[in-house]
């Protein structure tokens, strides 16, 4: 048993901004901007209001910002609420090899601590990259068994990334970083059973908050096992089965998982995306009217049914995990934005009627970013399309212009236009910021 935890901790502590390739920094800036957009866009949702109300009598002195709002909380609870808002629209970034949505967890933790330490933009971006690498490598060691067992990997692996990023900004030494990872390991939690409820959002918030606390505790002398990842009864063996521990340390510092990060074009479960693109394309191309449709047949990866199989979604959170609603909505609206997941749209008679005509055929030969959509009309005509790689996938990444459009769409209803421009500029030039707390100021209302 090699010293996996210690090797990882040593890398985290020793890595320097100058070790990071330019293309990695570029993707980290996209990830940063994207996360801020998601949290600002999600900041007025019910989960966030309830979370804010719930922590009111737990929270400490307000020193850290709540994105998209004007409240302030202690750094732990700020990380929590910003993690909730990052996830609430189901619009997050995705690391395809693990299905981890890392940006919101790591960003929320890192920004909260950066409002205290303080941190330069260069160090902050570096901490995000290191945190992202840590979360995804831990995830790779236990995926897919871990995810299939029922763990929400964004929470369970994300907490390590939050601990690493915050530990980096707190300048922990190697021994303290070993403990920070250990304290994170033993707080790792989150069940997929919660998908469709506010607890899905809670996982992201708690991973950020508890990851931050792990690094903070280690900085004050709190101790853990020194082999929390690899021990026979450590994290990977308890929450995984025959884990691939080598994935945590192999080529550390040479390859960067953030280069594989993807961004969602639609605010819903990522495995539904090819279907939405196919449905929108057919609806536009053939000027489809829902009332003329006899049936919609989808051939897709089995994860679609497993993760997003809610046939009769009860509200927004469930609708975002419903392939049936999403396909019907995509045809009716000919686009998918957040509006198509609002209660009034979900309950529209034409959407409900079409939803009942959607038939899904899982097919293990179809990749997660692929689908075949076939629409049969009452007239007997049939239109089909094949999405080889959906927009937003690794093979068809969102362009910088796509990302900016998404960012403006998310932030427009919340922040003044001039502030949005300033925030976009600051994200693009984050490495030149003397104090990254500027991002927090630009991302909040006043």
């Amino acid at each position: 048993m090699t010293a996996i935890t210690q090797t990882l901790a040593r890398y985290i502590v020793n890595s320097q901004p100058t070790d990071i390739p330019a293309e990695v920094e570029r993707e980290a800036r996209r990830c940063l901007m994207h996360w801020l957009g998601c949290s600002i866009g999600g900041s007025r949702e019910t989960s966030v209001d309830v979370a804010l109300a719930a922590v009111q009598e737990l929270a400490g002195k307000g020193v850290a910002s709540i994105l998209g709002r004007n409240e302030k909380l202690d750094i732990g609870h700020a990380a929590f609420v910003n993690g909730v808002s990052a996830d609430v629209l189901s619009f997050s970034d995705t690391h395809p090899a693990t299905l981890i949505h890392a940006g919101g967890v790591i960003g929320s933790a890192a920004l909260a601590i950066a409002e205290r330490v303080p941190a330069s933009g260069r160090d902050f971006l570096h901490a995000l990259i290191i945190g992202f690498e840590t979360a995804c490598r831990v995830g790779l060691a236990i995926y897919p068994w871990h995810y299939n067992r029922g763990w929400h990997i964004t929470g369970t692996a994300g907490i390590f990334g939050a601990a690493a990023a915050v530990g980096k900004l707190l300048r922990l030494d190697e021994q303290q970083m070993v403990y920070a990872l250990g304290i994170a390991a033993t707080q790792s939690a989150g069940l997929r059973e919660m998908f469709g409820s506010m607890c899905k959002n809670l996982h992201i918030g708690r991973a950020a908050q508890n990851g931050l606390a792990s690094a903070l505790f280690a900085s004050k002398g709190f101790t853990s096992s020194t082999q929390s990842l690899e021990a026979p009864r450590g994290f990977a063996n308890v929450l995984g089965e025959k884990p691939n521990l080598d994935a945590i340390t192999h080529n550390l510092g040479k390859t960067f998982e953030i280069l594989h990060n993807t961004y969602k074009p639609y605010p819903c479960g990522v495995v539904i995306h090819p279907i939405i693109e196919g449905c929108v394309n057919l609806a536009v191309e053939h000027n489809l009217s829902a009332e003329n449709i006899r049936g919609v047949a989808l051939r897709c990866n089995p994860y679609v049914i497993e993760l997003c199989g809610k046939a009769k979604p009860a509200g927004t959170l469930e609708a975002k995990l419903s392939v049936y609603h999403s396909a019907a909505a995509a045809i009716v609206a000919r686009e998918i934005t957040d509006l198509e997941y609002r209660p009034d749209f979900i309950s529209r008679a034409d959407v409900l009627a079409l939803r009942g005509k959607v038939v899904v055929t899982p097919d293990a030969t179809i990749r997660e970013d692929e689908t075949e959509v076939s629409v049969e009309m009452n007239s007997g005509e049939r239109y089909t399309t094949h999405i080889e790689h959906v927009i937003g996938s690794t093979e068809r990444p969102m362009s910088d212009a796509d990302m900016e459009q998404k960012f403006r769409g998310l932030t427009g209803p919340v922040l003044p236009a001039s502030q949005i421009d300033q925030l976009l500029d600051s994200c693009r030039n984050v490495s030149a910021l003397p104090d990254v707390a500027l991002l927090a100021r630009l991302a909040t209302t006043h």
Copy 2:
């Protein structure tokens, strides 16, 4: 799949103090007094100091008491720190069928919320009983696979008990209680790999703090799965293997797990206790001198090596999980109190020498509360003893007088004698207290 979570929630919500048999209330009073003693006695340990320092910039307005001290914190962090101090001496109560140390988790959460709601002593005792029942029944559903896999069951199952007790004091309705259990389920965490480090104590603190938060969140409208315990990817199937879900609901309200609760005579891993009693007995009876001993042979349950097999413990926390140190110390000191786990005693030359002569033979035919100790002298003489049931086991419970002696030993160095008498009286008469916050005032320094 029956509605396990809902059935449990309904029981928690509907149970009344008048439904509780007198013998159950008696044991709950013993459990309460015992937990307060452990936390007060542990309140000056390093883990507690570090925990207090670490939460300083996270904690909210000081409204809840820290046992044995004069600080105040928000109710969540007070539950956390009191949970840490409950565990730090490894002197907790034990539910033998699950190895859950429930008192500290549930007590810490319930007392913190009781300083806010407020609660009568009668309702408080009732909440403790309901919380205890909840934690132990959840534990029974997944034990022993769960524990053997590497989960620290006091943390993972304890959080349900904390949520139930706090939810009861917050007077949640049935739907809210379902959510409180769900929010707890998805925060359940804690690895046995952490034994011997401060994270073992953290598990108890976090279970109390996060269990409290679960109930508080549910009271504010936060939602979860409604089948968090029994769903195919719910708590019991993800953290257990072929769980016995029936254990959660069978005879609910008719049997009470707290009647099986036991209390430790020695401040260390419970499976070492028979060995300590045997070693002390032999040392006293035969006036043994360590330097005349050739070897100490122990035949005992295999859990002794698995849980407490540290041959060369590095400090207090590890020594409490070392059968080798504990056996040697018991013979040298002829008693085991907290003093025999202090660094100066651990490193004594005679203790170190004798420790190296201890040989442990695991034997699956020996119960956990049983042992055979055999001491061979340099002279060739051999003394043996068989402990059938150790003091503190279900079969040989600590008497009320034993419990009071333990309480006075723990609290004596921390509180004035008159205050200890008042606190003991208030525990004995807790059901008559109009406001249980009195317990918190009597258990703190001023």
